[in-house]
Amino acid sequence: MSDSAAAKAGLSRWFRRGPWENGAMILIGGGIFMLVQPWSIDLYSYSFITILVGTIGFMIVSHFPE
């Protein structure tokens, strides 16, 4: 196997859509929970950035190969 083919195979092993999409969804769900939870205003303050990172991440990783 040539070096470039091996590198490609390594990349496609790392950048598979499924696990990354799940990660992004966990971030979005966690961010929404942080936004509405009644216990900590610090969590509330960091909720929007968490949702934003999750949402942008989801849009990017949904273009990864299966």
């Binding site: 999409e21 992004a24 969804m25 979005i28 769900g29 961010g31 929404i32 936004l35 509405v36 939870q37 009644p38 205003i41 509330y44 303050s45 909720s47 929007f48 949702i51 934003l52 999750g54 949402t55 989801f58 849009m59 949904s62």
Partner: protein, 311 residues
């Protein structure tokens, strides 16, 4: 009689049509729609994003427009009032979606059986869903009116409490449950429809096999019906949660966020900031926070929808 077209004119027209590629013709057809979408969706969104970084206050529009960076976002994300309104919204979403799922699934189980007047009752159950939320808000306001509304009289009939001694929309303890009740009345049929699609997708041979194995109806429900309907239930939960998070019209008509701010959902806070306090920059930032939240949740919804489609 077919009008005659001269040969040169015919060939010119044919050349004009032939001169356009399929791609160009496709673009010509979709250009008006794209223009309209850009004008009424994308442009206001981009404009709102721009305003969210400014100090614009429409009651003091004579002040120069100043770029304030992330100040509006920091104000919102450190404001306890907005935090409490978001909690109120979450409580409303959890209570109403839970009730809608229980009632909707129960109705779907009933409607899934064949009985006399099946179509008639299905139509009756689906009626509230077809009404506009503004209409529902108005007529429930009349129904819940303490002096002349039939709802209080009905409660009085069963409990003996004088009808005008309590107000469903005016009392702190009752108002949150009133908006949950009305929302459930309106949207449980929608959950029923989704669940019905799920129940009808379960093949009969699974139940036949279960009967051969002498599984009781209760066992069939827990081992076949419920597990196979869960993806559809999840879909209904996600869709209703997103819709209820954005809920404005019905609650605004029923309680306007009152009494006090007991039923003030975050959408009503947004409307008050934008059109009562005229804090346009601040309210644009709040609208963006809500938009990103709903957009993120919608991504999860679409993913769940695709999973259900693949079944």
């Amino acid at each position: 009689m077919i009008p005659r077209v001269s040969e040169p004119a015919k060939s010119r027209a044919a050349w004009r049509v032939r001169g356009l590629s399929d791609r160009t013709i496709a673009w010509l057809f979709i250009a008006p729609t794209i223009t309209l979408l850009l004008a009424i969706n994308i442009f206001p969104l981009v404009w709102m994003i721009r305003l969210s970084f400014t100090n614009l206050n429409l009651s003091m529009s004579y002040l120069p427009l100043r770029f304030v960076g992330l100040d509006n976002f920091i104000d919102i994300l450190t404001d306890e009032e907005v935090w409490i309104r978001l909690q109120t919204t979450a409580q409303f979403v959890i209570c109403s979606v839970a009730l809608q799922v229980v009632i909707g699934f129960g109705l779907a189980l009933l409607i899934n059986r064949q009985f006399r007047g099946h179509s008639f009752w299905t139509t009756i159950i689906l009626l509230p869903m077809m009404l506009s939320p503004a209409v529902v808000g108005n007529f429930w306001t009349l129904l819940l009116q303490p002096q002349i509304g039939p709802f209080n009289s009905l409660i009085s009939l069963f409990t003996g409490v004088p009808p005008s001694s309590f107000s469903m929309t005016g009392q702190v303890a009752l108002a949150p449950w009133t908006i949950v009740l009305v929302d459930t009345w309106m949207w449980a049929p929608y959950v029923m429809l989704i669940c019905l699609a799920g129940l009808r997708s379960i093949p009969d041979y699974i139940y036949e096999a279960a009967e051969v194995d002498r599984a009781s109806p209760w066992r069939q429900f827990w081992s076949i019906t419920l597990p196979m309907a869960v993806p559809f239930l999840m879909l209904a939960v996600l869709f209703r949660a997103i819709e209820n998070f954005k809920m404005f019209d019905m609650v605004n008509l029923l309680t306007s966020g009152g009494p006090g701010s007991t039923t003030e959902l975050v959408s009503i806070t947004l409307k008050r900031a934008a059109f009562e306090k005229w804090r346009t920059g601040y309210s644009s930032a709040l609208a963006i926070i809500l938009f990103v939240t709903v957009f993120g949740a919608a991504n999860i919804y679409v993913k769940a929808l695709n999973k259900v489609k693949q079944r």
